[in-house]
Amino acid sequence: MRASVLIFINMLVMAWISVLPPICGISVAADDQVQSETPDFTKFSLEELKNVEIISASKRPGIVWDAASAVYVITKEQIRRSGATSIPEVLRLSPGVHVARISATEWAVNIRGLNNQFAENLLVLMDGRSVYTHVFSGVFWDVQDTVMEDIERIEVVRGPGAALWGSNAVNGVINIITKNAHETQGGEAVALVGNEEQIASLRYGGTLGRQTSYRAYGKFFNRGDLNSVAGGLEDATGNPQSSDNWRSGRAGFRLDTAPVNDVPVAGANTFNLQGEAYRNRYNKEFERRSILFPTAPTGQGLQKDDSEASGFYLLGRWQHTLSPASQTALQFYFDHGEKDYDPASGKVNTADLDFQHDLTVAKNHDIVWGLQYRFISDEFRNSPNFSMDPQDLNQNLWSAFIQDQIHLAPDLLTLTLGSKFEHNEFTGLEIQPSLRLMYTPYRQLALWTAVSRAVRVPSRLELHGRISDQFLLPVVDPNVPVVVNVQGNADLDSEKLTAYEFGLRLMPTQSLWFDTALFYNDYDDLIGLEQISGTPPTGPYELAYANNATGRAYGVEIAADWQVMPNWRLAGTYTYLNTQIDKNLVADPNIAELVSRGVNPRNVVSIRSYLNVTPQIDFDAALRFVGSLPERNIDSYTNMDVRLAWRPFPKLELSLVGQNLLEEGHAEFSTLEVQRSVYGKIDWHF
């Protein structure tokens, strides 16, 4: 196994070397072309210069040149020009992220691993607040939203981020960062109307005194349901599983006492306070499927469900500068979320206190250390299908981390050592170290490699849940449902990962860059299902969670970005992912067939074109190919998004966007299809 991985890596490196010269040749020519068109800016007046649009090669959109890990940054410009209307859809821009829409309100999002609705190994943060739910080990993407125009950037870290971020950052970290209130002054109104959704948002920002800025915002949307694939059940009106009523409303604010990344003098303090409240309602009519095995129908026909979700949070951060080489940050947040939907309902309160200290010691040591305390309190309502024991639980989580970035040879070799030490009440102390080395022999070439360990703490469901499920298993009996009960296991241990990574960044010219990452993940103690008893043919089967599986994953992720002409940029990504999880120890072959930890496509390719037809007109197009998911019966698909935008005045942008244009509908993860959609949008600053 390892030998084959090495050969695979070797081949890729060889492929790289053989590919290099032609790439350089082409791009050098392109660069010359760009230069010949450059006007003499010394002849321009200051006001004229202020109107020149910058093609910023040095900022290298998307790339973080000196990070010894696989990072991709989705900028606000890319978000605007993608035409995406929700956070999970924006994540399709990053290499290595598999995004699949399950239903109108549900997405499966994961990195370097097996994808599921609750992508267990991915940590997601919004402005420093974790939105990972410990209940199912995953993220409720339906409630993660904000005004899209207020997002500054999204940092996607592939691979373990546990040394800094802690447990559950096993396969990656997604960090969503909204704009500083200083950047959102004045009003902005957005109205979006399309065949699949309608969105309206309003934001107003102002100042309080000389240094303090604020913004307040509100957003509503109404989104349509997905249709079932041909042959699915139809509702009363004859539409296949179609309804049109996912409604969401939220309002929030943010207050900042200093501009972002301001470099304050010693003794300076900056504060940030933000909060938001939301409410979602979703009425659907659907064909009920097994909770445990979503590929199995229950045979109960169409059912109605009214789902509701609501919540709020409040977050405050205090940054204090001791000296230019030493800064501290103290953050506190409280988050309340409740959800009442088909299989379960419950409430979760989280209080989190975080302290971090950045300091430079002896010129070549950049040290970050921190302490964190988190209190999680939950409350569930048991139902015949779903119960928790204990029903309510309070948990305390303590952690500390330290990382030292050692500049062994300035601008040439950097070693980063770090570890997180985390204590939880179920699996005890978890130590998650990492070692990273960065080598930048030339200004145009950077190489890095890393070895790290990360764990995923079992979810509340895996520890204390009980699910009672009935579904049709035609191979057993086409009419009588099989009964399967799954029991939580309080003795579960954490899932463990050891990851080996290698990366290469190359910028042959100012207008072109490549970022490549190779990885090999070795998983141990994966949590799967184990059969305790069973009375075939129709059960009840008694299953329980156990640390009974091992697995590995390897792959490659490539991102490239080419400023072809001053007004035309091309960006491409390619992801190859191969995951091998050993079979679970479920004896009964009929049930074993259904037990799956999730799926992922082998190959994903995307190409995006950003063209400034004139300074006022953008024409953007994106083409993407996503490989098949044979375990779920999902075919591969190729689709296209197109965006045309016009700014008749600097403060007004009108755009027309078509999404998934190549097909009437395509399935991404479930039996429901994502439809072709078209919308018009008005974005007005006042």
Binding site: V34, T38, P39, D40, F41, T42, K43, F44, S45, L46, E47, L49, K50, N51, V52, E53, I54, I55, S56, A57, S58, K59, E77, V193, Q198, A200, F220, N222, D244, N245, R247, G249, P259, V260, N261, D262, V263, P264, V265, R279, R281, P324, D411, R443, Q444, Q510, P566, N567, N612, T614, P615, I617, W646, P648, L654, S655, L656, Y679, G680, I682
Partner: protein
């Protein structure tokens, strides 16, 4: 909320049709003058233009030059390869003086310079350089966020992919530099807090 979305629902198709047709009308009847072609440039090419203008609108005290025809020296401290574009300013003339661009690695770069351009995001280096330039008649220009707060004179920043600049008037005064109203009129002004 329910009432509002209900309203959207009934109006949905009508509004969509109007919005789409409006967009197309606007596209077709757009004034032809807009087809001037995009005015774009790489970051440092455009900065070259700005720096040329700064040099034109800033007056140094007589002591800063030995002779009338002395060169105007720009010292470039950079860890950004792209900033090498600033060398294009070499030998351009401004108010009878030739511009000379010298890399920071060259000895006496700061001693002879009138302008110090700091192209780095390394906070410690910026602070060190500003410390050396302090108390001399040097126009310091930087691009790290917070450069003016650190005592730098002019700070570039970006807004909607366009370059803007901030001027720390107090730092300019300390360096004995006089700035014309044309320069200040295009700048965002920063004043240090007075004790």
């Amino acid at each position: 909320m329910a009432a509002l979305s209900g309203k959207w629902h009934t109006r949905k198709i009508g509004v969509a049709r109007v919005a789409v047709s409006l967009l197309f009308c606007l596209l077709i009847f757009r004034p032809a003058a807009v087809w001037g072609g995009p005015l774009t440039g790489t970051e440092y090419d455009v900065k070259t233009g700005f720096i040329y203008n700064f040099a034109n609108f800033v007056s140094w005290p007589p002591a800063a030059f030995k002779d009338k025809g002395d060169d105007l020296v720009l010292c470039l401290a950079s860890d950004t390869p792209a900033a090498d574009a600033l060398f294009k300013l070499n030998d351009q003339t401004i108010r009878g003086r030739k511009i000379k661009v010298i890399p920071y690695s060259q000895e006496s770069c700061l001693d002879a310079s009138h302008i110090l351009y700091i192209a780095t995001q390394d906070k410690n280096l910026v602070q060190k350089l500003l410390g050396i330039a302090r108390k001399r008649n040097i126009l310091t220009i930087g691009e790290i966020e917070g450069f003016t707060q650190m005592g730098g004179v002019i700070n570039f920043f970006e807004e909607q992919n366009r370059l803007r600049f901030k001027v720390n008037i107090d730092a300019a005064k300390r360096a004995g530099l006089t700035m014309s109203s044309q320069l200040l009129g295009s700048a965002q002004i920063y004043r240090e807090e007075h004790k």
